[in-house]
Symmetry: C2
Subunit: 327 residues, 2 copies
């Protein structure tokens, strides 16, 4: 094994804790410090906790910073800022804003000579890789992405903004019938309603009108109106006991035609079934932290995405070992 890679974590929520656990599974990496906006003395983590305002003091001491903040408020500033001082990896996941974010991080990383791998994780990330691969291999075909069963943070937040709702959570669930139609290779046209359904577990405020709440949720534009939406009312205790995990997953499926007269149907499917969405995203971040560090060692600089990173760099094994054991 080559030199141990020293890693910093920026942001200590679910994702940051997932990265902390994932680093323990990778003996070629060492967690140096965790950077937080909170008072570092208020957190007990078994690792040096440092105020994010002191992060520049760690230049030269940390090989890669793993950015574990949110895409809405943290990364748009932290990504370009930290790329000036460190190699970084993040899971920026606001699809529509990726080109703009890429540009800002690239500007910073190019001029400082760092490598920043952006938008890793599973979607964007592993799902994106499979969309690209399947499209390149089967150009005459159709791609489908199904998400779930899993908790959607955005939809859960939308439920909690409804008047009369004290708490709630939303699961996105793919319609198994739609998945099977896609797997049959028939390349169906599927409506939004045919692909996914939405299941909500809602805790009401005292005295709230359950009918009115359910109605408002089901008819909420963008979030629920285009879907079959099931609303269950539960107590706070049930919500905590049965719905506090963060499972997720999904499938990227492409079916395409090949051969003379396009007579053969070929199906490529990539799927994930995750007990913990943040822990899995964290595991992907750690593998890409290794790759980002190696790209930098090879003299590269600038912003990179999963599309730019050869898989060989993700593994601690040598190219010889990989060819012998995994090819």
């Amino acid at each position: 094994m080559s030199k141990v890679i020293s890693v910093g974590i920026v942001g200590y929520g679910n994702l940051g804790r997932g990265v902390e656990a994932a680093i323990r599974q990778n003996p070629d990496m060492k967690l140096e410090a965790i950077f937080t906006r909170r008072n570092p003395e208020s957190i007990d983590a078994g690792t040096p906790m440092v105020s994010i305002s002191d992060i520049e003091q760690y230049k030269g001491k940390i090989d890669v910073m793993i950015l574990c903040g949110g895409s809405a408020k943290d990364l748009p500033d932290q990504g370009p800022y930290l790329a000036q001082h460190f190699h970084t990896v993040d899971s920026f996941d606001t699809h529509a804003l990726i080109p703009e974010y890429f540009q800002k991080v690239d500007d910073a990383a190019q001029s400082s000579g760092h490598v920043s791998v952006i938008s890793t994780g599973w979607d964007p990330g592993l799902f994106s890789l499979n969309r690209l691969l399947a499209e390149a291999v089967l150009p005459e075909g159709k791609e489908y992405t199904f998400w779930g069963k899993g908790v959607s943070q955005g939809h859960s937040d939308a439920i909690r903004r409804v008047e009369g709702v004290r708490n709630g959570i939303q699961y996105t669930i793919p319609h198994e019938a739609a998945v099977e139609r896609v797997r049959s290779g028939s390349n169906p046209e599927l409506t939004t309603r045919e692909k996914h359904l939405r299941e909500c577990y809602v805790v009401l405020e005292d005295g709230a009108d359950s009918e009115a709440v359910a109605d408002e949720i089901r008819n909420m534009p963008n979030y629920f109106a285009d879907y079959e939406t099931i609303v269950h009312f539960v107590t706070e205790e049930v919500l905590r006991a049965e719905h506090s995990k963060m499972p997720h997953g999904g499938n990227v499926i492409r079916s395409g035609q090949t051969g003379q007269d396009n007579a053969s149907t070929q199906l490529i499917e990539f799927s994930l079934k995750l007990d913990s969405n943040p822990e899995f995203t964290a595991s992907v971040l750690v593998a890409y932290a290794r790759a980002g560090y190696r790209l930098a060692q090879a003299g590269q600089k600038g912003a990179k995405t999963v599309f730019d990173v050869p898989f060989g760099l993700l593994s601690p094994k040598s190219p010889e070992q990989l060819r012998k054991e995994l090819l």
Copy 2:
């Protein structure tokens, strides 16, 4: 789109014909010539057919040669030879000999300044990529590969060598129960017999003893003795009518643990369901031909595997387009 990539096909069997069809689906590529050991005038393909002994005359006229010969007899010579004169891509698939083959092709390609992408296809190839990715992301876990339902050429050949057999074909079939046990995340220990079964369709010679033939097949060491093997006897007509296609496929599944106390189970699965094994392998070869050409344009040389190629190079789209549309 950038310059059209001119491609040559070496070997015009099932795989070569698949590549010919796949190139028609990729407008950034043009098939220049097909090279064959047969008399080129005996073949009518709508593309210039050229004797392989004249292939060096095409230096400078062809950007990438796609090698469609077999791994046992053709590629061990053709791979290193053609890497002296062209950028190449192949689907060398004798797993145990890959390190040696890599070395020979690398020596030739390094000294001539060419890029040779070896061992593409789906296994080795896409399956290998998924084994690597899943192991890098979930280091504490276990990987399973299931093959089929599909025709195994080696096992079909073994059947045909049995005395009293006129013709025959063998399907490798994964045990669905084993696949489901793996998907459950329980990381079972599976024996050879538990993972796959083998189903044979056999045409007997006139007067052959069906019991004796079935017995010999079922007890053949290495090929069948370790499996549940089902032998059907059919007529030559049935064999041709119902068993002349070359379907295949399979699943690479890794289940691993993450988080504090490894409490979460995460499952990554990649699967293929192919009407035509050679046509799909051909489609993968064509995508890697594009990538190999681009690696060469970027100044690289030597032998490469799928582990060395960033996915972005597989697609005709620009990096900007890929980030916008597929990330």
